[in-house]
Every structure is written in structure tokens, then in C-alpha cells.
């Protein structure tokens, strides 16, 4: 039976991991641009993913009211209006008015074992990066909801923020933490919610 051998030619001496390290710092900058800080008066600070045309997607448990303050990485604070809400799916769509707002590019999923990066505001730390791998894709318990399960350390404040693959494509919306596991809503489900709300997926 033929098998592929994966070799990491660069990983044989110290210093040769520089490419990975540099790529990671680019990745965090790229993800910070498309990650918003979302605060409503009732709930604690959360995160959100920027969508084209001034839309922001986040968790319903992050925005309980009809509006929220959306802060971009450039420091702009914009008034966000809730356009659609699906409490069961734990998703909310906000709209902000502004120009030159970046938008995430998305991907359906990533294979088990591949790297994932999350950016958010865990415990109030702005724009914090967490890196891990995809643990599994599917329900945590038989018959439950399908998640992207990631072996990555997240905390309160990451909710609603992006889980992205190594190329910066957003594959999920960070939503829950179960022990050491982070659970993200798959982008397919987010896109479905957006379609229902009349917004085209990017």
C-alpha cells in the first residue's frame, strides 16, 4: 500500500520555523481587522465577525437588546442595529453605518488536525490570539447540534468572534466552551442564517 510521507524540511534546525512564526503574525493582524468588539448595555463584552456592506455577525447571547456598540480595530465606535436574531441558533445580525469597513472571507470547514486561529476579547483582553487545531466536526453528543470542535483555549469574550483556518478564512463563529474544547458554529450554518435574513454570503 502506498503512503505519503510528510516531511518538514524546514523543521530540522532552530530558526527554520521563522516562516511559520512570521505567517502567524500576519494572520493575527488580518483576523484583528475583521473582528469587532461588540458591547450591549446588558451583556458583557463579546466579539463579532465583519461581513460586507456593514453587517456584523455575532452570538445572540452577546447582544440581548436591539442595538449594540461595535468597535473596530482602528478604534472607530459605531452604533449597531439588530437586523435579525435566531435565539435557537444563537446568532444575531447587526448593521453598522460606515465606510472602508473590512470584511471576512469564509470557508466551509477545515479537516481534523489542521491549525485554527481565534481572535477575540477573552476576559476583556483586546484582540487576543489563540491557536489550536480542529478536534472534530460534528455533534458533541449523539443527536446534538453539529459544531466545529477545536482544541484551543478560549474564554468569555471570544463569543461571536472568528475561528479561522491557517490562511485566514473564517470557518466558524466561536460560541461555547466545554472544558478544554471550544465549539464554533460552522460557517454553513451562519450563511444559512444570513440568507434567511436576506443577506448574501460573502
Amino acid at each position: 500500500m502506498s503512503r505519503t510521507t510528510f516531511t518538514f524540511a524546514w523543521a530540522s534546525a532552530p530558526g527554520e520555523l521563522c516562516g511559520v512564526v512570521t505567517d502567524l503574525s500576519y494572520l493575527v493582524e488580518r483576523l484583528r481587522r475583521i473582528t469587532a468588539e461588540v458591547a450591549d448595555s446588558k451583556a458583557s463584552l463579546g466579539s463579532g465577525v465583519l461581513w460586507p456592506a456593514g453587517y456584523v455577525v455575532t452570538n445572540a447571547h452577546v447582544v440581548r437588546g436591539s442595538r449594540a456598540v461595535v468597535r473596530l480595530v482602528d478604534g472607530r465606535r459605531l452604533e449597531g442595529q439588530v437586523i435579525a436574531r435566531d435565539t435557537d441558533a444563537d446568532l444575531v445580525l447587526l448593521r453598522v453605518l460606515g465606510t472602508g469597513i473590512p470584511a471576512a472571507s469564509v470557508s466551509d470547514s477545515a479537516p481534523v488536525g489542521s491549525l485554527v486561529a481565534a481572535v477575540g476579547h477573552p476576559l476583556g483582553v483586546r484582540g487576543a490570539l489563540s491557536v489550536g487545531i480542529v478536534h472534530a466536526v460534528g455533534p458533541v453528543r449523539a443527536g446534538g447540534r453539529s459544531w466545529i470542535q477545536a482544541d484551543v483555549r478560549l474564554a468569555r469574550g471570544n463569543s461571536g468572534g472568528p475561528l479561522a483556518d491557517a490562511s485566514g478564512q473564517v470557518i466558524g463563529l466561536n460560541t461555547m466552551v466545554v472544558g478544554p474544547l471550544a465549539l464554533a458554529i460552522p460557517m454553513r450554518e451562519v450563511a444559512c442564517f444570513l440568507r434567511m435574513a436576506g443577506v448574501r454570503a460573502s
Binding site: 503512503r3 505519503t4 524546514w10 502567524l24 488536525g113 489542521s114 472534530a136 482544541d151 491557517a166
Partner: protein, 292 residues
């Protein structure tokens, strides 16, 4: 393609490839565990997850179930070997665990497949010689991961993960230890259970005694029972003897004794250093085999 993407793809490929050679293991109540198809028809898993010798059910990578039998076990290193008709499930690619160093990035894989990643925190040679080495891991062993493969970034299996019976540890048994156990199993047809015929209890060593005999250990074991006609009895071990070393390894507690008595030691003559009546004695004990 960026280096980061290449690295990510390599990790995913390592998981995908290894997952073709792992089985789900159902041999205890509640949580199942994971096993690695190590050699043709032999699946290795963590011994503490095998609580039944009959009705062991394995789940192939394609989801089909197949029954297995216990081929042998070595609780001292937490390894069990199951015999199964593996069909077209390929054996895993086994790597060189002696090349593993602290800091190496590794993946732990469980049935599903599910995966976690981290680094080797230390390579402990442990007490009782190099073959006792374990890898301490800085990664999460999720429920069901015990018995599963520890995989390096090139996709080779370098160990068997175990959270131990306490579930709080994050360890891996190096591939070389597994290979040694399987070599013995294939040579003998079974994994022998070493036997001395002695019961011991831990005992603190007075400072005066430690100084007099230049002992670093703070404790040893005292012999509280010797079975008649056992290797211990034939070697001259007596109730009340304080056993401080066996086969060159210091014995600080009864667990150390178990660690020395590995399957490959059966038939070997070991020097037992004892203190009897305040005087040192060296006895020669030939390790026996417990009947099956």
C-alpha cells in the same frame, strides 16, 4: 502556499493517515478507548481501559465492529495487546521514539477521528532503567483518548497515550517500549507475568541507616510475607528483610518493585540488596512466572 498553511496541512494529513490505523475499543463501562493497529492483527491500547477479557469489541475506521481477544497485558507499563482480524485496516507507521525530545510538537488522536495537539514536555527516563521511559505531554487527552497514538508532525506513531487510571495524567508510552512488549509476545506466544512470591510494605529508613549504607532513598520496602517454594523463598528472602534495591534499581515503595518486574525479566537472576538485622546482604532471586 505559506509555511503556516503547509504546516497546518501536514498536521491534518498526519491525523488523516493515522486515523486509518486506529480502532475504537470497548472493553470497559462508559467511556470507550482507542487502540492502534501496531502489527498485523495486533492492536495496542492502554491496559487500564481493558476491564474485561471477553466481549472486547473494536470499531474499525470505517465504523464496522469486529470482536477481539486479549493477547497479553503488562500493567506495569499500562499496555494491553488485543488480537483481531484486522482485514484491510493497515498497520500504523511506527516512528523512532528514541529521537523524541522535549519541545517536539505532537498530536494525540482518538477514535472518530478526534485530535488534540501540544508538545512533549519532558522525556523522563524514570526509575529502573531506560526502558521505563515515558513522555510527559503538554496537551489535552480527551475522554476516550487513552490507548490512542501519539503522532509526530511527520505522521509517525511515537507512543501510546494514557491518562492513567486516575485520568489526571498526560503521558505516552514510547513506541520502543511497545515494540519490546510485542517482540516478547510474538517470541513466547504470550506476555509472561513476572512473579517473586513476596508481599511488602513501605518502610521509612532511619537517617543513621541511610548514612551507614550511603542510601539516597528515604524509604524502602519491608518483607511481610514470603510464599513457600516461591522464587523469593528459594533465593533466601525472609520476613523482616528490608529490600532497598533489586536488579540495580532502588526500591522506595512497592510500586518500584512492580516497575522492576517487567515481563522480559522472567527467568533472569536479579540481585536483591537487603538489610537484615542491621547488616547488608545480597541475595540472588530468579524471577519466576505466574501461572496463567
Amino acid at each position: 502556499m505559506s509555511d503556516l498553511v503547509a504546516f497546518s496541512n501536514g498536521l491534518a494529513a498526519a491525523v488523516q493517515q493515522t486515523s486509518q490505523s486506529i480502532f475504537g475499543v470497548t472493553a470497559r463501562r462508559r467511556t470507550g478507548s482507542t487502540g492502534v493497529h501496531w502489527r498485523s492483527g495486533l492492536v495496542v491500547t492502554a491496559d487500564h481501559t481493558v476491564q474485561t477479557e471477553d466481549d472486547i469489541l473494536l470499531t474499525r475506521p470505517d465504523g464496522r465492529s469486529v470482536s477481539a481477544t486479549l493477547a497479553g497485558r503488562d500493567p506495569t507499563v499500562d499496555l494491553a495487546v488485543l488480537r483481531v482480524d484486522a482485514g484491510d485496516v493497515p498497520a500504523a507507521r511506527i516512528g523512532d521514539s528514541s529521537a523524541v525530545q522535549a519541545g517536539h510538537i505532537v498530536l494525540a488522536i482518538g477514535e472518530g477521528p478526534r485530535a488534540s495537539w501540544g508538545v512533549v514536555s519532558s522525556v523522563a527516563s524514570g526509575r529502573g532503567g531506560a526502558s521505563r521511559a515515558v513522555f510527559d505531554l503538554d496537551l489535552t487527552l480527551y475522554p476516550g483518548f487513552s490507548g490512542g497514538p501519539l503522532v509526530d508532525v511527520s505522521g509517525q506513531v511515537i507512543g501510546i497515550n494514557t491518562s492513567g487510571a486516575s485520568r489526571s495524567q498526560h503521558l505516552a508510552i514510547p513506541a520502543a517500549v511497545v515494540d519490546g512488549l510485542l517482540d516478547g509476545l510474538q517470541r513466547r506466544g504470550h506476555i509472561p507475568r513476572p512473579y517473586l512470591g513476596v508481599s511488602t510494605q513501605p518502610v521509612r529508613l532511619p537517617d543513621a541507616l541511610r548514612q551507614r549504607f550511603s542510601l539516597e532513598q528515604a524509604s524502602a520496602v519491608i518483607v511481610v510475607a514470603v510464599q513457600p517454594a516461591s522464587p523469593a523463598a528459594e533465593g533466601g528472602l525472609m520476613i523482616g528483610d528490608v529490600l532497598v534495591a533489586l536488579g540495580g534499581a532502588s526500591i522506595a515503595d512497592p510500586m518500584d518493585l512492580r516497575r522492576v518486574l517487567q515481563p522480559d525479566r522472567v527467568g533472569e537472576s536479579l540481585v536483591a540488596s537487603v538489610i537484615r538485622g542491621g547488616e547488608p546482604h545480597d541475595l540472588h532471586l530468579r524471577v519466576g512466572e505466574r501461572s496463567r
